[in-house]
C-alpha cells in the first residue's frame, strides 16, 4: 500500500485547491475503495493512486455539458453571481463566441446598480458586435430584461444575454429582485431563461458552496462559469458544488481577452489540480 505520507500530500494538495475538507476526505476514502475493489492493494505505485484519484474527480464532475439552446426563437441566458467575479466580462466573451458562430446576439444591461456597469457592457457589446438594450442607472432591472426580450423577438435574434448586478447571496431583497427578472423573462419568451449561469471566481474558497446554494434556491442555476483560472487558484470548490448540488461547470474563463472563454474539460481540470505534483 502507498505510504500515508503520500496520501497526506494528496490531501494537502486537494485542500489547497479549495476542494474543502469534507469533499477531500470523501475523495480519498473513495479511492481506497476503488483500489481495494480493483485488487490493487499491492499497488504501491504512487502513479496508480494518483490516477485513481483523478478518475474519481472526473467521475464527480461528470461529463461535459454543452450550453442549452432554445428549440425555436431566442435562447435567453442570464448571467448571475456575487460582486466582482467577472459577470460583465463573461457576457462580452460569450456574446463574441456566439457572434463568431454567425448568431445574432443582444445584451441586456440589467445591472442598473453598479456605477458605470452599463457603459462597461456597452464597450463589450461593441467589441463583440452585439446590440445592447439599456435604461438609465437605477432603473428596474426587470424592465430592462423585458425590453431586451421584446427587442430580441422583434428582431428574431438568436441569443439574449442578460448581465445582472453582482449581489451577495445573503442579501435577500437583491435575490428576490433576481427572481423577478427571471419571471419577467419567462413570461416574455416561453421556456426562458434557458440557461442561468453562475459566475464563480476560481479564487473563491468554501463560500463558493454557499453562493451556489443560495443562487440555485433563488433562480435555479443551470451551470457554472469558473473565471480567473489563469492565476494560481484551482477552483476546487466546484467539486463540492457538483457533488452536493449537482450543478455542472460549463465554461471557464482564462484571461481578460475576448477569446479567453473555454468549454469546461473535467480531465484537464483534474490534471491541473495536481500540476505541481507532476512537475
Amino acid at each position: 500500500m502507498v505510504d500515508s505520507e503520500f496520501l497526506e500530500e494528496l490531501e494537502a494538495i486537494l485542500i489547497q485547491a479549495d476542494v474543502g475538507i469534507n469533499t477531500t476526505e470523501r475523495l480519498l476514502s473513495g479511492i481506497s475503495e476503488r483500489l481495494k475493489e480493483s485488487r490493487q492493494r499491492e499497488a504501491s505505485d504512487e502513479e496508480v493512486v494518483l490516477r485513481a484519484l483523478k478518475d474519481e474527480i472526473v467521475a464527480v464532475l461528470g461529463p461535459p455539458e454543452p450550453l442549452r439552446k432554445a428549440e425555436e426563437g431566442p435562447t435567453v441566458i442570464m448571467v448571475v453571481g456575487v460582486n466582482g467575479t467577472g459577470k460583465t466580462t463573461t457576457v462580452g466573451k460569450l456574446g463574441h463566441r456566439f457572434r463568431a458562430q454567425g448568431a445574432d446576439v443582444i445584451f441586456g444591461a440589467t445591472d442598473t446598480f453598479r456605477a458605470a456597469a452599463i457603459e462597461q457592457l456597452e464597450i463589450w457589446g461593441e467589441r463583440a458586435g452585439a446590440r445592447v438594450i439599456r435604461h438609465e442607472e437605477g432603473h428596474d432591472p426587470a424592465a430592462v430584461a423585458y425590453d431586451t426580450c421584446q427587442a430580441a423577438k422583434a428582431r428574431g435574434a438568436d441569443y439574449v444575454i442578460l448581465d445582472t448586478a453582482g449581489r451577495l447571496h445573503t442579501h435577500v431583497n437583491l435575490m428576490r429582485e433576481l427572481e423577478k427578472t427571471k419571471r419577467v423573462v419567462g413570461r416574455e419568451i416561453p421556456g426562458a431563461p434557458h440557461e442561468i449561469l453562475l459566475v464563480l471566481d476560481a479564487t473563491a474558497g468554501q463560500n463558493g458552496l454557499s453562493q451556489a446554494k443560495t443562487f440555485r434556491e433563488a433562480v435555479d442555476v443551470t451551470g457554472i462559469v469558473l473565471t480567473k483560472l489563469d492565476g494560481t487558484a484551482k477552483g476546487g470548490i466546484v467539486l463540492a458544488i457538483r457533488d452536493s448540488l449537482e450543478i455542472p461547470v460549463k465554461l471557464i474563463g482564462i484571461g481578460e481577452g475576448i477569446d479567453d472563454l473555454r468549454d469546461f474539460d473535467p480531465i484537464e481540470f483534474a490534471d491541473a489540480i495536481f500540476y505541481d505534483l507532476d512537475a
Binding site: 464597450i123 474558497g205 494560481t232
Partner: protein
C-alpha cells in the same frame, strides 16, 4: 454545515469536562476540530498547520481557570492566539508628515478596488480631510467612468485621463494635481491584475517608485480561498505592502483569508468593507474577526455582558422556577427587563455562536418594537393576572388590549406563546439540557 461544525466542537468540549489541567489528549482532541473549523473558514492549509502547533504548545499543561471548562479554556487560548496573530489592535492610516498622503490600492480583478477607493475618500471627507481620487485603471472598460460617477456621488474630485493612457503617468499627474488643488490625501485606484502577471506587477512597481505612496493597500475579497497566501505574498514581495483591506464581509464568508494574508505578509488589515453603500467601510477589529473565523461567535463577550447585566439572585430564583415549571408572566417580565439591560437584542443574538451561520439568520431581525409591545401587554395586566394567566378571559383580554394599545389578537398570541413555553418547561422537567432548550424556545417566538 457550519452549524454542524459548531455543534461538533461543543460536543467535543462537553467530553472534556471537569479536569484541572489541560492534558495533551484533551488539547489534541479539541484541536482536531479547530483545525477543521479553520480549514472550513478558508485559512490556508500551511497557516493552519503552524497555528495548531503553536496553540498546542501553549495549551498543554496550562491551568483551567475556575469558571471555565477545559473545552472553553482551549477556545480561549485559540481565540487569543488568533486575535494576537491578526494584529492585536486596530491599525490606522499612516499620514505623510508633509501632505498629501498618497494611498495606492492594488489587487486582483474584482476584489473591489474602485468601490473601496470611493469609500475611503468618503471616509476621509467625513473626517474633514480633502481627498482626491485618481483613476489610474485605464484598462478595464468604464473603470474611469465608474470612479467619476462615485466621485460625483460623494462630492470628491476625480482626476482622470483617457482610457488606454499609461497608468504610471496618470498616477503621477494625479498626485501633482492633488498638490495643486491643496488636497491632503490622494487615493490612486489601479487596474486589477493577477499576481503572476510579471509585466503588470512590474508596472505597479514603477508606479510606486514615481508616486512614493505612504500606503500601499492590498484589496482582498473576504471570500478568497487558499490562494490568498499566494496573492498576498506576491504583492508584498513586489511592493512591500503597508496593509490590507478586506472587502465583501457583509456576506457569509468566514474570512479565513484575513488570517492567511496576515500570516504570510505580517501586514495589518486596516479596513473592512461591509456593504455596497458608500459608508460601508469600517476599521478592522482583530478580536471580532477571530471569532468569525472560528465560527464560535463572540461567545466570550456574550458571557461577559451577561454577567455584568444579570442580577444573580434573580437568576437563581428563575432557575428554581423553571425547574418546577412555576414560570409566570411576572417572571417573564423580569426576564425581558434583564435582557434589555444587555443591549440591543440583535446585537446579542449576533454574539451567539453559530447564529450567523443559521440559514436565513442574515436577514433575521429582532423586532424590538414587537418586544416593547409584549412588555406593554404584560404591564397592562394586574399582578394577579400575571401570576395566574388562566383567569384572563375575554373581557380581561379586551381591557388589556386597550390598556396596551394593541389588538386583542396580539394579547391572544402572547398568551398562546407563553403557554407553549410553559408546556415545554413542564415536558422537560428538571433536565439541564432540556431546560436550556426550552429557555431558548422561550426566546425564539419573539424573533421574526
Amino acid at each position: 454545515m457550519f452549524e454542524n461544525l459548531t455543534q461538533r466542537l461543543q460536543e467535543t468540549f462537553r467530553k472534556l469536562r471537569g479536569k484541572g489541567k489541560l492534558s495533551e489528549a484533551d488539547v489534541e482532541e479539541a484541536l482536531r476540530e479547530i483545525r477543521i473549523a479553520l480549514l472550513e473558514a478558508d485559512v490556508n492549509f500551511k497557516v493552519v498547520r503552524d497555528f495548531i502547533s503553536n496553540v498546542k504548545m501553549r495549551a498543554v499543561g496550562s491551568e483551567v481557570s475556575a469558571s471555565l471548562t477545559p473545552g472553553q479554556q482551549v477556545i480561549k487560548i485559540v481565540n487569543s492566539e488568533l486575535t494576537e496573530l491578526m494584529g492585536g489592535r486596530e491599525s490606522k492610516i499612516r499620514y505623510a508628515p508633509k501632505p498629501p498622503t498618497v494611498i495606492m490600492l492594488v489587487g486582483l480583478q474584482g476584489s473591489g478596488k474602485t468601490t473601496t477607493a470611493a469609500k475611503l475618500a468618503y471616509l476621509f471627507k467625513k473626517q474633514g480631510r480633502k481627498p482626491l481620487l485618481v483613476a489610474a485603471d485605464t484598462w478595464r472598460p468604464a473603470a474611469i467612468k465608474q470612479l467619476l460617477v462615485l466621485g460625483e456621488k460623494i462630492g470628491v474630485e476625480v482626476f482622470s485621463a483617457e482610457e488606454g493612457e499609461d497608468p504610471v503617468e496618470v498616477a503621477s499627474k494625479g498626485v501633482d494635481r492633488g498638490k495643486f488643488l491643496g488636497c491632503d490625501t490622494v487615493i490612486v485606484d489601479t487596474r486589477g491584475r493577477l499576481h503572476v502577471d510579471d509585466d503588470l506587477m512590474a508596472e505597479l512597481g514603477s508606479m510606486q517608485k514615481v508616486i512614493m505612496p505612504q500606503e500601499v493597500l492590498l484589496v482582498v475579497d473576504a471570500m478568497t480561498g487558499q490562494d490568498a497566501v499566494n496573492v498576498a505574498s506576491s504583492f508584498d514581495e513586489r511592493l512591500e505592502l503597508s496593509g490590507v483591506i478586506l472587502t465583501k464581509l457583509d456576506g457569509d464568508a468566514r474570512g479565513g483569508a484575513a488570517l492567511s494574508t496576515r500570516a504570510v505578509t505580517g501586514k495589518p488589515i486596516k479596513f473592512v468593507g461591509v456593504g455596497e453603500k458608500i459608508d460601508a467601510l469600517e476599521p478592522f477589529h482583530p478580536d471580532r474577526m477571530a471569532s468569525r473565523i472560528l465560527g464560535m461567535g463572540d461567545i466570550l463577550s456574550l458571557i461577559e455582558k451577561a454577567e455584568a447585566a444579570y442580577d444573580k439572585d434573580k437568576a437563581v430564583e428563575l432557575r428554581e422556577k423553571l425547574k418546577t415549571a412555576e414560570f409566570t408572566l411576572e417572571d417573564f417580565q423580569d426576564q425581558l427587563e434583564q435582557m434589555q439591560k444587555m443591549g440591543p437584542l440583535d446585537e446579542i443574538l449576533r454574539m451567539i455562536p453559530g447564529m450567523s451561520r443559521i440559514k436565513g439568520a442574515a436577514d433575521l431581525q429582532v423586532d424590538e418594537h414587537h418586544l416593547r409591545q409584549i412588555e406593554a401587554i404584560i404591564n397592562s395586566m394586574t399582578p394577579e393576572e400575571r401570576r395566574n394567566p388562566e383567569i384572563i378571559d375575554g373581557s380581561r383580554r379586551r381591557r388589556i388590549a386597550r390598556g396596551s394599545g394593541v389588538r386583542v389578537q396580539d394579547v391572544n398570541a402572547l398568551l398562546r406563546q407563553f403557554n407553549q413555553v410553559k408546556g415545554l418547561l413542564k415536558q422537560f422537567g428538571g433536565g439541564g439540557k432540556a431546560k436550556r432548550r426550552a429557555m431558548r424556545k422561550g426566546i425564539i417566538p419573539f424573533l421574526q
